[in-house]
């Protein structure tokens, strides 16, 4: 009698040793198309960015309170493991990200099913688009104007609008700073491209619609690979030296923190 129980136990044990090793791969048969959402989650030096609230001190020894952090992202490309690229339709691929206006998401629609491993996009507006003239900009011109991302049509787009107040060793009274970076017509090209590897592949299929959660570090604008001191100049708009440096800094402020895979992910 007991022997039967033991047999059952041993069989159970045997099942346990063999049963759970197979990993079926549902990912292999992706089909259809779906949306990809990209979240731009602004931070500063590891903390969440709260406009006008807290101040923080950067490595230049300057203490900043950020009141505006707007920028343009464009020309999205999704790349799979084989290096195959899907380029989002160019006319629909320009977006303003604005903390103050709560524009913090890019929705890419009708992305073909695939397992994407990397993401490429531009910061700002490329010359090709700008050369199409005001007519060629479509709705984006108005969106840029509404979000303080235009100087004038002749001067062009502001790729970055970064404002607030600061103090430093030499400037002890809170002083306004304004960092407006762009291409300045077609004479100076500050458009930059950013390629980011995804820490987890983004799965797109008929029923899978991933969210790419990006961490954007506002500190990098002044405190990136180039150190831009506000004490030297609190307003930087058209500057042949500093504007290109800021554009390099800005292209280094993006990082993909994580990817959520799933259907209609509530984030």
């Amino acid at each position: 009698m007991n022997f039967n129980y033991i047999k059952t136990l041993v069989i159970l044990l045997a099942i346990s040793l063999t049963a759970c090793s197979s990993d079926d791969d549902a990912v292999n048969n992706l089909g259809g198309e779906n949306n990809v959402r990209i979240e731009f989650d602004a931070g500063v030096n590891g903390d969440a960015l709260l406009l006008g609230a807290a101040s923080y001190t950067n490595s230049n020894g300057e203490s900043l309170t950020i009141n505006r952090f707007n920028y343009i992202v464009s020309n999205f490309v999704l790349i799979d493991a084989e290096g195959t690229e899907f380029t989002y339709p160019k006319d629909d691929s320009y977006f303003v990200i604005s903390e103050e206006n709560e524009l913090t998401e890019v929705l890419l629609e009708n992305i073909p099913a695939d397992e994407y491993v990397a993401l490429r996009f531009g910061v700002g507006v490329d010359q090709e688009k700008y050369q199409q003239g005001a007519e060629g900009q479509g709705d984006f011109l108005q969106i840029a104007e509404e979000n303080e991302m235009m100087w004038s049509w002749q001067a062009g787009y502001k790729f970055l609008n970064f404002e607030g107040t600061f103090t430093s060793e030499s400037i002890t009274e809170p002083t306004i700073f304004q960092i407006h970076m762009g291409s300045h017509g077609s004479s100076l090209d500050n458009y930059r491209e950013v390629t980011l590897q995804l820490p987890t592949d983004a799965l797109v299929s008929e029923n899978l619609s991933p969210v790419v959660h990006m961490a954007v570090d506002a500190n990098q604008v002044l405190d990136g690979q180039y150190k831009i001191e506000l004490s030297e100049a609190a307003v930087v708009m058209i500057d042949e030296v500093k504007s290109p440096q800021i554009s390099e800094n800005v292209s280094g402020m993006f990082r993909v923190d994580h990817v959520h895979n799933g259907e209609n992910v509530q984030h």
């Binding site: 129980y5 059952t8 346990s16 049963a19 990993d23 590891g46 987890t200 799965l203 799933g262």
Partner: protein, 356 residues
């Protein structure tokens, strides 16, 4: 993860060896022969309490590995009580966690409360084989920063385990030479956790605790072992168990889990003078640890889902005739859960059993 793989291999190996000895062991009249060297024959101990089965204290602890709601997963709170081999009863477990809602250092923490009411039983099938069954009902809630809250409740994942007693404690006779100084008990078990609790993928999203669920939605294999040794009224219990988790229908795969614990207890026995009902009380002191593997979603590793936590444990268990009850409190000593995004705060378990 590698650590966990190693632990898994070791446990499988041990169970394999035990499994093969099951058949042999059964032919032995008393499996304590396996540990015969430990059975020191000594003169007179505890003469007044010859029938002192409480001192043969087995500290049976099988954790009810139901990941869900057990915060960062299962509880090393343990399945068990001191001494009473077989019982049916109820246990209430409350667990408090906090999880970071966001990716930044100053992202807000949200409080999570996991509550479980479970019916549990340890039923003898034969002299050496016991069946453990746990039927949990969970009611969890969490409070978000925007003052909203979320509640989930429902039947959890039912666990069924068969335990085989490899080493049984020797019962003391009346004569001094029939008494042993050290009493050992070793049992190993195999079982399944059924996907009876509802798994909701939506609760896995966001940056908050991925274990806010009432079920894993998966069929899981449970491997368990308990060893205990007692001397006079003192007892020491050691437990180790491993849960092999599988992918659920929604293609989410919770990471494997390893639980371990060491508990020291002392039993005080007395009799109710009027009714001659035996009464015992046993304070317990111990540590319990849990190690979690990484979760996978659609076959891809989910970042920041592995971790480990070590708890201290203080408790007391008591019996009055056929009724036994206990309270156990667990507080974290050290932890590294979900990349620091989840923190265990405390765990409290209260049970009331009827001894079979």
């Amino acid at each position: 993860m590698n650590d966990l793989q190693n632990i898994k291999s070791i446990i499988l190996l041990i169970l394999g060896v035990f499994g093969s000895t099951f058949l042999k062991a059964e032919s032995l009249k008393d499996s304590t022969n396996v540990f015969a060297n430990f059975n020191f024959k000594t003169a007179t101990e505890d003469f007044g309490l010859v029938e002192n089965h409480k001192t043969s204290a087995e500290f049976f602890d099988f954790d009810d590995c139901d990941v869900c709601g057990c915060g960062s997963s299962g509880g090393s709170m343990g399945y068990g009580t001191i001494g009473d081999g077989n019982f049916v009863g109820v246990r209430y477990i409350t667990q408090q966690y906090r999880s970071r809602d966001g990716i930044y250092n100053n992202s807000p923490w949200i409080d999570e409360n996991f509550n479980t009411m479970q019916a549990w039983a340890r039923i003898p099938v034969s002299q050496k084989i016991k069946l453990n069954v746990i039927v949990p009902y969970h009611f969890h809630n969490r409070q978000f920063v925007d003052e909203t809250s979320q509640r989930i409740n429902g039947l959890g994942d039912i666990s069924i385990l068969g335990f085989y007693q490899l080493i049984s404690p020797k019962l003391d006779g009346f004569l001094p030479e029939q008494q042993t100084k050290f009493k050992h008990s070793l049992e190993v078990g195999v079982g399944v956790k059924l996907p009876t609790g509802e798994y909701d993928r939506a609760n896995n999203e966001g940056s908050v605790n991925p274990s806010f669920q009432v079920g894993t939605g998966s069929w899981d294999v449970l491997l368990a072992s308990n060893y205990s040794v007692s001397h006079k009224n003192w007892g020491l219990g050691v437990l180790a168990n491993y849960t092999i988790k599988t992918e659920n229908e929604q293609e989410y795969h919770f990471g494997d889990q390893f639980n371990y614990g060491v508990n020291l207890f002392r039993t005080f026995n007395t009799l109710n003078a009027k009714t001659f009902t035996p009464v015992s009380i046993s304070p317990v002191l111990g540590i319990s640890g849990e190690v979690f593997g990484e979760n996978e979603s659609y076959g891809l590793v989910v970042q920041d889902t592995k971790g480990n936590v070590l708890f201290s444990r203080i408790g007391v268990e008591s019996t009055y005739g056929k009724i036994s009850g206990g309270v156990n409190l667990m507080l974290p000593l050290s932890q590294d859960l979900n990349g620091g995004a989840v923190e265990a705060k405390m765990r409290l378990g209260i049970h009331l059993n009827f001894v079979l």
